[in-house]
């Protein structure tokens, strides 16, 4: 007998996760910012890191959003194959959760039709990524994505001859081209392999990892450490005004690809790295 999960619970969970994600920086990110502040040599860099940390304190105290770009709500749902979602349309429930949170939190409605530029008025629709997994649980992660960083993301359809070196160079080049625009210090999500669209989704999922936790795969963990050092040697620094802290972390993941290809997707994330997770 399948476990029943009401879509109303999904709606309420999405609402709560949106509110929390936009109002407080995660503990892992705050720790990374504190460590960066201790290391940073640039006086401007230190001042900017102090402002970012103080901004988190003020947003929590006042119950207000950290940033005016409260993002497009990206919702990841892992639904157990033994869970039965009841009581309505799942997509509608996710959007209802986003709508409620953005109204209640006085968050900005940033979502509009791409060509006509007509605002939907309530920050819907969410971008929903569904995955069917074993078990009867439902896990929801909400990552409101700002577009200062999203705009700096890039896909490279490399050739196999370019190999590991080509992948690394593409990532470093992407961070260099982005410069100040994605609000450094950034988190860099790198998806290697798969197809064009699955590489970018893999890169986006990398942004949900605990900041600075190494990839389980030793080869990728070594690549992450090398790329973080190379990216920080660019000197871009906090807000691009020069300094040691261009990135807080580089997170890589890989999946099998085709014999003819080597896709690499880089999803850029600003310093707030918003994401909150809950299980139903």
């Amino acid at each position: 007998m399948a476990r029943q999960v009401s879509v109303a619970q999904v709606r309420d969970t999405v609402r709560a996760l949106c509110l929390a994600a936009c109002r407080e920086i995660g503990d892992d990110v705050l720790t990374a910012l504190d460590e960066a502040l201790a290391r940073e040599r640039s006086p401007f860099g230190r001042e900017i890191l102090r402002q970012i940390i103080e901004n988190d304190r003020l947003a929590r105290e006042r119950g207000m959003p950290l940033c005016q770009d409260t993002g497009m709500a990206v919702v990841f749902m892992d639904v157990g194959q033994d869970a039965h979602l009841v009581g309505g349309d799942l997509t509608d429930a996710v959007d209802a959760g986003v709508r409620a949170a953005y109204r209640e939190g006085c968050f900005r409605s940033s979502v509009l039709s791409p060509l006509g530029r007509v605002n939907t008025g309530d920050n819907t629709p969410a971008v929903l990524h569904l995955r069917l997994v074993p078990g009867d649980g439902v896990e929801i992660t909400v990552a409101p994505k700002g577009f200062g960083s999203e705009n700096m993301s890039r896909l490279g359809m490399l050739t196999p001859s370019q190999g590991m070196r080509g992948v690394g160079d593409f990532v470093v080049e992407t961070v260099a081209l982005a410069g100040a625009n994605p609000c450094p210090p950034v988190v860099v999500g790198v998806g290697i392999g798969g197809t064009a669209e699955s590489a970018m989704l893999l890169a986006k999922r990398c942004l949900l990892r605990v900041i600075g936790s190494p990839a389980p795969d030793a080869e990728l963990a070594a690549l992450e450490a090398e790329l973080l050092a190379r990216v920080n040697a660019l000197g871009i620094g906090p807000q691009g005004l020069g300094g040691d802290t261009t990135a807080l972390a580089v997170h890589c993941a890989q999946m099998p690809t085709h014999i003819a290809g080597l896709p690499v997707a880089v999803n850029m994330q600003c310093h707030v790295a918003r994401h909150k997770r809950a299980k139903i």
């Binding site: 640039s42 901004n55 620094g237 005004l241």
Partner: protein, 183 residues
């Protein structure tokens, strides 16, 4: 030590500012981002008057959150300035003297700034709650139908900024990273 400046200003007021100076801004500043810039330039194309006189003014590139009860404005950090590069030189020709945002500007904008004696100041991206605390008043001045993208008039007090590009064209986005690259 931060330099106190007030807007609106004259070209002479802003001339001493140098890339890398810390600034505390007070006075009034306009907000405009993508949609409002498009509208302003469409009016110029059509030979029609602008809804606001830009002479001596500053434009802050931001689209604020709605205020919570009791607040004058919601979170209001800077947005990426580069998207306004296509429009900025035309507004500088209208007398605009100060732009506030985040991120590098194009060579064409920097050249127009030199010609017009304008400055570009950087606010900390992502510090929307902190910056909202420096805004004392906010009202919509033009294009109310654009919502967050409308032109607002803000009254600010000790708004913390860094001179990113000065009126001589010195660019902290080039100078700063060069100082730390490879070290």
């Amino acid at each position: 030590m931060a330099i106190h400046i007030t807007l609106p200003a004259s070209r002479a007021d802003l001339a001493p500012l140098r890339a890398g100076d810390a600034v505390l801004l007070s006075g009034s500043v306009l907000t405009a981002r993508d949609a409002a810039h498009k509208r302003l330039c469409a009016l110029l194309d059509a030979g029609q008057p602008l809804p606001v006189d830009l002479a001596g003014q500053g434009i802050y590139y931001t689209g604020p959150c709605p205020p919570m009860p009791g607040q004058v404005i919601g979170a209001c950090g800077p947005t990426t300035s580069g998207r306004m590069d296509a429009y900025a030189p035309r507004l500088l020709q209208q007398g605009l003297l100060c732009m506030i945002g985040k991120g590098q500007r194009s060579p064409a904008v920097i050249e127009a700034m030199r010609a017009c004696g304008a400055v570009y100041l950087a606010a900390t991206g992502g510090a929307g709650a902190l910056l909202a605390g420096c805004v004392r008043a906010c009202r919509v001045l033009a294009f109310p139908e654009l919502g967050t993208e409308a032109i607002h008039l803000l009254r600010v007090e000790n708004f913390p900024l860094i001179v990113a590009i000065d009126s001589l064209g010195n660019d902290l986005y080039a100078i700063g990273p060069a100082r730390y690259a490879g070290r």
